[in-house]
Symmetry: none
Subunit: 543 residues, 2 copies
């Protein structure tokens, strides 16, 4: 234990581990994100997953806002949750109405949610200019709403909107709003950086001041508009917050909310003196949870996402790979498995032998020194032509099979032809013909297909030719198609790299083709994608 | 000025604005990101853009590692940069060699770069276990390498790898490595959080201690593995770092580097007492820069990216939209225009006017309110189809001409046909025919061309048809050709965006085409590229 680390540990009050509650609002604040839209079923499934992982609070929605959210609160009661408390979100009562008569309040109580999270205004600007009520009425709205919900026997969390902006502009008024919340019986005051414009040092300094004023616990709710929502949440915890509100993968309006994936991992693995997720094992499901939520939200994964991204523990530089093989943690800040992620070694122009060995272990070929050498040479030769296997692991596996002489083609091309023709400004007509010989003395098949573009037409014709022999191809679909010009100095005469991403019910795989001709490059990638699928189905990829 | 804000401003030493250098390593560390691969031309174009915006240092590559990086340093000398210094990256000399005989050192000096950035080991673990040299030899490697480069008259920055991990494990040794760097004449020591495992409070505390030991300025280089790279960089600056190293959009190995877009915006807009980007106006080009780099790297934008994302100022929640209509800053932490971004109200996709006006001033049309409205509508319509004008200013200029009714086509297409045919594994034969009518009652020309690919064949045929009338096209060459699938959910049937970059002796310009058919999309971009060249030569682009 050296000087510095003791200083740090001391500062982080080691020895008194503090349990930090995680409050997930993926289903409410998260669903405000652009393009995010959860079905009722999605919401129930995500609720179950969050509960299994030990999240403490799950904000299910805003019962007043729509039928779906209202339904959610009815159906969620039949999920027997192990640990999490379900929260209904709402606003303080409207001006000049009694709380019990306010439709928002009624929606909260009839939701039957054990916890109600009520948002109210902190910033005098918002009260007078946006809400257009006087400052005293706003205080009354907070007090009445919370005391009514307490009288209905709910746990009540008060979300102080624009807390930090409001406090900086008018600390006295901001404090009077949260004092009112405490007097009305709120169980917690959550300070919200609604616009995401606050920096960590401000969060720390302001929360410390609020703590002096209140006896009930504080929570922190941050947005990522300055790209520091996670740091802000951690600063809030260091300043005494007992709860962090955020969303899975940080989805949410504008730049999103604090990413609870990163917050949980940092609090439990990187900082001393804190505990999260009662089900400690929860942490090892973070990667799975992150991808699950992306799937549900129908969003693409962020490959470079901290802790859980596909690239989070991917090593490309030959020097790094070399080092990681000697000592894993030399270029890894944590063991990927602690968050349910895995290490990946990428082949690239910077590759050395160590990348190849690491990648071929699954074929149990890595002991074959000579083969390793051949593969390395071949990879470097192909990469000098523009191949890039880091983005095409399936093509790399096929290459290994070929060089290991365990490769039997499933079909052979005799020829193909693509024709694109147009008149005036109309859309072109595209037709492709494919002639292939099925392996193992199969017949010669000659088929024609149309498509929106040449690759689509080739794909159509090729499937027509192969599916009678390989019905498994029915399950395979193309997910993405990327094209890149390599030695672009040559302009349109340069060679072209095509990467195709395909999937079936089990897997996603990428293949690559390089040629001066974009059609030929696409054909090569397409054929690899199909062959990979066929080898996979025949269990021929374990080597 | 209220209590709290004065405290904060005081703390942030208001009144003594400190200039913070921005060191961009997009072209070196950024290119280690998964799937990132810049062509030589991309690297030169990005260098130019960064220089125009006032970045202080641009790390162009690692001359020893590959031919492309070596070439870069030769060609970059002919770009007359206004402000930025170009840096070559390398490592300390190998064990037991004299610096002057070390191939890495020689690559650095022969790169002719005015600045050399040398990385060396700080962590005793890395020295003894990974590098496997003894601790003294590592110190000698640092000292010899830096003093050799100084004797060659270079500015030398020392990147202390794994500085924070090394310091926590063995502060004495860590400090001895950077002391050696200072004694050898390094102009700056840059403390690197190579594994991205350090948190802001540790960065602050450790940097403060290092400052006491050294008299030369410190820099900070962070990675995002804990999702706090931006906060770490800001903490480093508060602790006295005079330089922040990072990449545009935070691209880089694993979870990437600190995003200089967020760092620049936070230092200049959110924190008091700091200045960045000598060309102050640089900040208003951040959004453009971010998207430009994504295009060059052929990556998709992150819609929710802080400051510059398409959603960064997009309002979805009805309450928010309502409030924003009353007072813009009620849900916006800054004015979007300060970073060249724009507000979007998602329910009514209302956006862009300011950009349009900015982009049309050169045509002296911006006073024409009605035309501005028409252009705005048209741009929104086209962008909803997948057009992206940030990366295709030439196509935008042509669009403006069309809508301003100052556009006279130089030729009209009657039809084209492309045929790609192949046998066995041979390269396909590609033939294109083009039939066009030259403007102003010119003849109908029907030409045929061959090419390496369909676009090259079309280009050849089209030039054959046009050059007799427009000999200026002889000077025009295609520099780059990029393809992106837009709604990739559709696989090969999705629509395709083609961006073509062309140049002549004076300019480089980009044009775009979108279609479900890659051939048609390429044709559209190709025709724009040619027409732009012809209008340019006729001086018809000043409006």
């Amino acid at each position: 234990m050296t000087a510095i680390s003791t200083i740090l540990l001391a500062k982080l009050n080691i020895g008194i581990p503090m349990y930090v509650q995680l409050y997930d609002t993926t289903l409410r604040d998260g669903s405000q994100g652009e393009g995010v839209n959860f079905s009722l079923q999605d919401k129930l499934l995500i609720t179950k997953k969050l509960d299994e992982m030990g999240f403490d609070y799950i904000e299910g929605g805003y019962p007043l806002s729509n039928e779906k959210d209202f339904e959610y609160f009815q159906q969620v009661q039949s999920l027997s949750l192990k640990h999490a408390k379900v929260c209904a979100f709402g606003m303080t009562r409207r001006r000049g109405v009694e709380a019990k008569d306010d439709t928002g309040m009624q929606a909260l109580t009839s939701s039957k949610a054990p916890v109600c999270t009520v948002v109210g205004k902190t910033s005098d600007l918002h009260v007078t200019e946006v809400l257009r009520v006087d400052l005293e009425e706003n205080i009354a709205m907070i007090r009445d709403s919370l005391s009514y919900l307490k009288s209905e026997g709910r746990e009540v969390l008060y979300d102080a909107e624009h807390f930090f902006d409001g406090f900086i502009a008018n600390p006295e008024y901001a404090l009077s709003t949260v004092r009112a919340a405490q007097e009305a019986g709120a169980d917690m005051v959550v300070c919200c950086d609604t616009n995401g414009g606050t920096l960590p040092e401000q969060i720390a300094e302001i929360l410390a001041q609020v703590q002096k004023e209140l006896s009930i616990p504080l929570g922190i709710h941050c947005h990522n508009d300055c790209d520091v929502a996670v740091a802000n949440s951690l600063a809030g915890v260091d300043a005494g917050a007992k709860q962090v509100q955020g969303t899975i993968n940080g989805i949410g309006e504008r730049c999103g909310n604090a990413d609870l994936v990163s917050v949980a991992a940092n609090l439990s693995l990187k900082k001393e003196g804190y505990e999260v997720l009662t089900a400690g094992a929860g942490l090892t499901h973070l990667t799975e949870l992150s991808r699950y939520v992306y799937e549900m939200a129908n969003m693409n994964f962020r490959v470079n996402q901290a802790f859980v991204g596909r690239s989070a523990f991917a090593h490309k530089g030959g020097m790094h790979v070399h080092a990681v093989n000697r000592i894993a943690h030399s270029y890894e800040h944590i063991n990927p498995e602690t968050v349910g992620n895995e290490r990946r070694i990428l082949v690239s122009e910077l590759s050395g032998r160590s990348n190849i060995v690491a990648l071929t272990t699954k074929f149990k070929l890595d002991s074959d020194k000579e083969l390793m050498g051949t593969i390395l040479e071949q990879v470097q030769e192909l990469e000098s032509q523009g191949y890039q296997f880091e983005a095409a692991e399936a093509s790399f596996d096929l290459l290994v099979k070929k060089l290991a002489k365990t490769y039997e083609p499933k079909f052979q091309r005799i020829h193909y032809r693509v024709n694109v023709e147009t008149a005036r400004q109309e859309n072109p007509l595209t037709e492709a013909t494919v002639k292939v010989k099925i392996a193992g003395g199969g017949e010669v098949r000659h088929e024609v297909g149309e498509g929106d573009g040449p690759v689509n037409a080739l794909d159509t014709a090729l499937r027509k030719a192969l599916i009678p022999y390989y019905p498994g191809l029915e399950e395979m679909t193309l997910v993405d198609y990327k094209v890149r010009v390599i030695n672009s100095a040559e302009g349109t005469a340069a060679s072209v790299r095509v990467v195709i991403e395909s999937k079936d019910d089990q897997d996603v795989w990428s293949t690559i083709g390089v040629s001066e001709n974009i059609i030929e490059a696409s054909w090569l990638a397409l054929v690899d994608a199909i062959e990979y699928k066929l080898f996979k189905d025949d269990g021929e990829l374990q080597g």
